[in-house]
Symmetry: C2
Amino acid sequence: MNDSTLAKSNAFAGGAAYVRDRYVPMAEAAIPVSDWGFTRSDVVYDVVHVHKGAFYRLNDHMERFTRAMERRRLRPAEDRAAIETILHRCVALSELSEVYVAMACLRGRPSVFGSRRPVDCENYLIAYAIPWIDVVPKDVQARGAHLWIGTTPRVPDASVDPTIKNYQWNDLTSGLIEAHDNEFDTVVLCDRDGYVTEGPGFNIFVVKDGRVMTPDRGSLHGITRLAILDICAESGIEATIQPIPRSALEDADEVFITSTAGGVMPISRVGKRILGNDRPGPVFAALRDAYWRSHDDERYRTPVRPLERTA
Amino acid sequence: MNDSTLAKSNAFAGGAAYVRDRYVPMAEAAIPVSDWGFTRSDVVYDVVHVHKGAFYRLNDHMERFTRAMERRRLRPAEDRAAIETILHRCVALSELSEVYVAMACLRGRPSVFGSRRPVDCENYLIAYAIPWIDVVPKDVQARGAHLWIGTTPRVPDASVDPTIKNYQWNDLTSGLIEAHDNEFDTVVLCDRDGYVTEGPGFNIFVVKDGRVMTPDRGSLHGITRLAILDICAESGIEATIQPIPRSALEDADEVFITSTAGGVMPISRVGKRILGNDRPGPVFAALRDAYWRSHDDERYRTPVRPLERTA
């Protein structure tokens, strides 16, 4: 990395991106319209966040991203250590303190003209650091989000593995549009058998009689989900990964959702059912607080490297 | 459109693209890495081809693309007439005679920072004209392609409507990788119930006892598929859209596939089964010839407009 990048670091204030060996301001980060990462959605990704100057559970995100690339046979030029350095540099260039940090590996395009073979493509990494985003706005979080149960069934795990983080959101987008049409904030989908899965960008948890449950199917193994399960284990709260029929969601004492983009967020209504007193519940509040406290836990913190240490 | 575009038309020789109101050489056509058309695969598309100076069945492609945009509530700035003019201009700029012409409408990005609502996004059109591509290489077509039956089930129609042409190819890509691992040329997927659907970028037809059949589920309503059905109707060949169990595919007299990118292409092997004499069959050959003859039919031809009539 040369000094000219450092000299113009203000250009990265809106976000900094890495695309094919170059650091560029977010507004310039682009991919070709004929890239299979776009035209076949042949891409895996991950999102980690930076809070108070440190990545949270970076190791867990890198493990998941590395596994996803392997499972889809995506092999970028950069190894894991190089990818981590790129994430640090994007954050440092952006000069942001609360940061949404994304990485993706795209299939690319075939080097042989007309080839339809994934193996003929040169895979490549992109990454970017942009200002923090909550999947549920703060004012909605204050009252608890209203959750619609979508009529579109989640794509089955056998067709598209939801544990390999992907951009194929059509079923989730269909549900989201339906939720908004019905004046709900967001949506969760059930699978074809009527079991609860996940929503657009988040996992879901159900609380019943002091027990915490999250779906065993149709869902990403979210890192915030993992954080909640760890916190429950350390706090003596019973928590299980299990099948959750739609009726259990509707009969819950509390419901909350988890996402890197927002953390732990409350649901106060599920369809026409009002949970508790139509406000965020006590189990949610305790877990949310514990989740944010865990950001100070040295086990999970990776301080962002200063710019000069990311060259 | 100004004269400077005309002056540098050689720059478009590798392909011409239209992105957000600008014509650019194909190598410069790009979309932002944070566009929901990429990060949510929230995009519909269509592909039409130009053969001997004319679009083939352009009206059918435009009807399908328009319907797809409506179904996904995608509203670009350009109306249908404007989109057609853009396609003509991309082809004219490229100066290509056999052309693969793509159009896509992307969700775009929310104009409200942090919004997660599709309705907050400014949708936009991209289009491009590039050299013709066959989904099956010519040398493979000469002997007949070897077709693998994938073990990944096709995404159900209820989750992602396959008649809305989309880029969500993960199930097809999984099948394609499996086919190549087994030294087959391409793949077809069955649904969870064991019925044949489609392959990566093509429809499939089965011939048995002189009857022609194509699947009624899990499939795009392909324009080449429609052309074959029309040719059968006009030629007195019995053709039906119907459920096709995997066993009917394996027991076929002939199998062929259809795609805008390649037309009508023969299959000579299905898994370990060798069809006929391990070469393209007679029903296939007759239909392929009729398909290419139909390109001269005035009902289906839309001559490409000269550059000065696309301003």
